[in-house]
């Protein structure tokens, strides 16, 4: 493969070029209620070429090897067009030359598990909610994505790295009269099939919650002090803060750049946030990013002060900061962009019981359900919550959506718990879907959060 890639790069007339070829194997088994709606096992592939020419940078993603000449010409023309229209030439930070063949350590390679076993396991978990009377349907799938990536650049780097992602996840829907409620359920990871076995408890727990939601009250909209559980706090930090640590999002936005200056005190003293894809045995793990740069643990916030951000080779130069290998692509259809790897709030000292006592009166909100950010404002949904009175958990509430302001909410984080947990199924859509985008946190107590009830 590298021989072929070398011959492609040899046809490019540019100061720098790199090429990534990927083979992506996908196995999908989907249930909709009791019915099996999809079973497929497929392999797809493609190339992404990036070049730096005359100070302009461009990329082209192409499927067919026969299109290589057309693709190269396109990239060269686009790079020249850019170079004629920008003030300063694009530069890439110096990066180590790497020759590496990296295969992840797996606890049971999913490729060695029979299709029947995958089908039966998914069916078994899917049946857990379906035995309950008020469960109207489920949408649960097994997904296995295996990306074999081959990266070559004109500086001499040659990297082969495989990314293996497995998960069983989806929605469980309950119904009573005209009211429906749903919860998400998900298990998975980056180290093989074993994490999917013996996980009945997760499906039983979520089934129980979605049935209870039918009897819960809608939360009343307003401002509250809240405790977020680990999943919720993970989504929160991803949306509220994580995206604006991605240098490419603020690179050309002077007002945001000013707000996100290194040294700015943006959060409360007790807030420490890191993005570390190098941690083993978690969803977001990778060794080298899609620019051939080694992934590094990157402290983003320390004691409430902004101390770092996530970079590509291009933004590292633009900001005059260190490379940390956070530039990845969803697959062969895309050039890489800056992504969070594994972002989390680092644990503090308090237990959940202590946090509840501190909260006294407010809401305890659990399990994220999708979020979005506009930089200043962020919004995310929760699957369920509880009213807390005098430090004790009371009635369940539902239909919870949370809104906040980046510049105030980080300062309103009052206490950070000691029980860090990372998401097993994560995910982030920033133009491209990153299924391995991992987030997490311990329980956290935040003051003055806007809840938009119905």
């Amino acid at each position: 493969m590298f021989g072929k890639l070398k011959s492609i790069l040899s046809k490019v007339d540019a100061e720098y070029s790199d090429i990534r070829y990927e083979i992506k194997g996908e196995v999908r088994i989907s249930f909709s209620g009791k019915e099996l709606t999809q079973v497929s096992s497929n392999s797809t592939d493609g190339f992404v070429l990036r070049i730096l020419k005359n100070g302009g940078a461009s990329s082209v993603a192409f499927t067919k090897e026969n299109d290589v000449e057309k693709a190269i010409r396109s990239a060269e023309e686009n790079a020249i067009l850019i170079s004629k229209n920008i003030e300063a030439p694009v530069k890439f930070a110096r990066s180590e030359i790497i020759k590496y063949n990296y295969l992840p350590k797996l606890e049971v390679d999913p490729r060695h598990i029979s299709f029947d076993e995958k089908l039966e396991l998914t069916r078994q978990y899917n049946n857990i909610p379906l035995t309950q009377e008020k469960i109207v349907t489920t949408n649960i799938s097994y997904l296995e994505v295996i990306r074999e990536k081959f990266f070559l650049n004109t500086e001499g780097s040659e990297i082969h790295e495989d990314l293996i992602t497995t998960k069983i996840n989806g929605l469980i829907t309950s119904k009573d009269g005209t009211l429906t409620q749903n919860v998400r359920v998900g298990i998975g990871g980056s180290n093989g099939f074993a994490v999917l076995r013996n996980r009945e408890e997760e499906f039983e727990k979520k089934t129980d919650i979605v049935l209870q939601l039918l009897k819960a009250k809608s939360v009343k909209g307003g401002e509250y002090n809240v405790i977020l559980n680990q999943s919720m706090a993970g989504v929160f930090i991803h949306e509220a803060f994580g995206h604006f640590s991605e240098a490419d999002l603020i690179e050309n936005n002077p007002s945001m750049r000013q707000r996100m200056e290194i040294g700015a005190k943006s959060g409360n003293d007790i807030l420490n946030i890191i993005d570390d894809p190098t941690m083993p045995n978690q969803l977001g793990f990778y060794k080298y990013d899609d620019e051939g740069v080694k992934a590094k643990p990157t402290q983003l916030m320390k004691n409430g002060v902004l101390v770092g951000r996530l970079h590509s080779r291009r933004t590292a130069v633009g900001f005059g900061e260190q490379l940390n290998g956070h530039c990845v692509a969803e697959d062969y259809r895309y050039a890489p962009i800056i992504r969070m790897g594994t972002i989390f709030i680092q644990p503090g000292k308090d237990s959940l019981v202590e946090l509840l006592a501190k909260l006294d009166n407010g809401l305890y909100i659990l399990d994220g359900k999708g979020g979005q950010t506009s930089g200043e404002n962020f919004t995310f949904g929760a699957q369920y919550g509880y009213i807390v009175k005098s430090g004790k958990i009371n009635d369940m509430v539902r239909d919870i959506n949370i809104s906040g302001n980046l510049y105030t909410t980080l300062k309103n984080i009052d206490t950070v718990g000691n029980d860090l947990k990372l998401s097993e199924t994560g995910g982030c859509g920033k133009g491209q879907m990153n299924i391995r985008s991992c987030h997490g946190a311990p329980h956290v107590l935040i003051k003055k959060v806007v809840i938009g009830g119905v």
Binding site: E26, I29, S32, L36, T37, Q38, V39, S40, S41, T44, D45, G46, S58, S59, V60, F62, T63, K64, E65, N78, A79, L81, I82, I86, F115, V136, T137, T173, K175, L179, Q181, N182, G221, E251, N252, N253, S255, R259, A335, G370, Q372, T373, S374, G375, E376, N377, T379, F380, G381, D399, N401, S403, N405, G429, M433, V450, I451, G452, G453, V454
Partner: protein
């Protein structure tokens, strides 16, 4: 491809071959300056086979080995996914002009020039940061099946997505315009962005409460996703739709008429047939507030024992590989009938209320139930018919089965936005939490 169909036919009862190719150029401007110019040249094939009423599904990007693709599809049959429907024999379908050869006459240089022109105008008339993305694409689609259907379609599209950002945020006034060939962004579109932005520079913090809320075309997807979810053949079949048994009931305000119209070839993306080769048609969902139809693909039509409606499309909320998706019931060409009030009239009718110009979290919340709860990015606050400033740090929440019963007025013209063509719509009694 013919060969593949032939070989597959020998071992299956029915076969469908779907092929797709696209060439795309993407130009990105940030802060009025060129940032990126990138291209894509993509293609792929998807195969569906039916044997003994069971479905096999497989796909690939590079057809290196025909037999391997077929084998993947045949292996998938082992899963015993039910498929009791038939691929259609389609010879007659509406003749639409989906490709304009004018698209070939422009180059990336022209697109860069247009983004420069638009950026210059907007940055001279507003204090906001201007970001634009221009995309030109040419797509080809082919569907063959074992009944003898052999259809192809070529489409062209040029689009420009313009945003003018408020300081310290990505909250912005946005507009999407798309055409079948390159066209200059009309002056009145630019003026509308400029006016909305300049009138809302000041930050205001109104009190929470129920009030009039105007959904701009760019925000209509918040409401449409909920209607689409409930009227889909899947939700009907699974008995989880709030609209079960409600055909011919009045569920919305009688000013609302909502249809799916893939036949409008004045705009890009028109389709004479769906991704299963079933002919498309003008399809009413809501007529004067009354629910008229649910929508199906071949599979769910058969499961409910009703006629297919030509809504089988390979689509997903988060853009996936088309060939990797199976067709499911989808509304890709929504249209809301315009009303009688120019935008200025809608404004005058707002004693106290919010114009939603940007929304966060539309994909979150209890979509099947019709609930929505979105963050504003931004909202424009209106008092006595005038925009007095912008609102952030606020949420608007409701349920479409309440909100869409209370329509004050509908704009007299439609605009392109994500998912369809919509007028602005003014609703009353919507909950706003600040």
């Amino acid at each position: 491809m013919d060969k593949l169909l032939e070989i597959a036919r020998k071992s299956c009862d029915q076969v469908e071959l779907y092929s797709f190719d696209e060439t795309v150029n993407i130009i990105q401007f940030e802060n009025s300056r060129l940032k990126d110019v990138d291209s894509k040249v993509q293609s792929g094939i998807s195969l569906r086979v039916i044997k003994d009423n069971k479905l096999g599904f497989a796909y690939t990007k590079n057809l290196i080995n025909r037999d391997e693709l077929l084998q993947n599809a045949l292996n998938a049959l082992k899963g015993k996914v039910e498929a009791k429907f038939n691929f259609p024999l389609t010879r007659n379908f509406p003749k639409l002009k989906t490709y304009d050869s004018g698209i070939e006459k422009i180059s990336n240089i022209d697109l860069v020039e247009e983004c420069n022109r638009v950026s210059a105008i907007l940055s001279s008339k507003t204090k906001g940061q201007v970001n634009t993305v221009a995309v030109s694409s040419i797509n080809g689609l082919g569907i063959m099946n074992s009944t003898g259907t052999n259809l192809s379609l070529k489409t062209s599209e040029y689009s420009i997505f313009i945003t003018v950002l408020y300081p310290n945020s990505y909250a912005a006034i946005c507009r999407l315009l798309s055409f079948k060939r390159f066209e200059k962004t009309p002056d009145d579109s630019l003026q509308s962005i400029i006016d909305l932005y300049n009138q809302s520079e000041k930050e205001v913090r109104p009190k929470s409460g129920r009030m009039k809320v105007l959904f701009m075309p760019e925000i209509m997807h918040v409401l449409m996703w909920r209607l689409q979810s409930a009227a889909s053949g899947i939700a009907i079949y699974q008995k989880q739709s709030p609209l079960l048994e409600k055909i011919d009931d009045k569920i919305f305000d009688d000013k609302l008429t909502i249809a799916n119209n893939p036949l409008d070839d004045k705009i890009p993306g028109a389709r004479p047939f769906d991704d299963e080769a079933f002919p498309c048609s003008y399809f009413p969902i809501i007529e004067n507030g009354v629910l008229r139809n649910f929508y199906y693909d071949l599979n769910y039509a058969e499961k409910i024992n009703t006629k297919p409606t030509g809504h089988g499309f390979r689509s997903a909320r988060w853009a996936s590989e088309t060939i990797a998706l199976k067709p499911t019931p989808s509304l890709e060409h929504l249209y809301i009938q315009p009303g009688e009030s120019p935008f200025s009239e809608l404004l005058k009718q707002i004693d106290k209320g919010i114009i939603i110009a940007g929304a966060l979290g539309a994909h979150s919340g209890n979509i099947p139930n019709g609930d929505f709860s979105i963050g504003l990015s931004p909202g424009l606050y209106v008092e006595n018919g005038e925009i007095v400033g912008r609102v952030k740090d606020a949420m608007v929440a409701g349920n479409i089965y309440d909100t869409m019963k209370d329509v004050v007025a509908i704009e007299d013209s439609t605009h392109q936005a994500g998912g369809g063509i919509f007028p602005s719509i003014l609703f009353d009694n919507v909950s706003v939490v600040t």
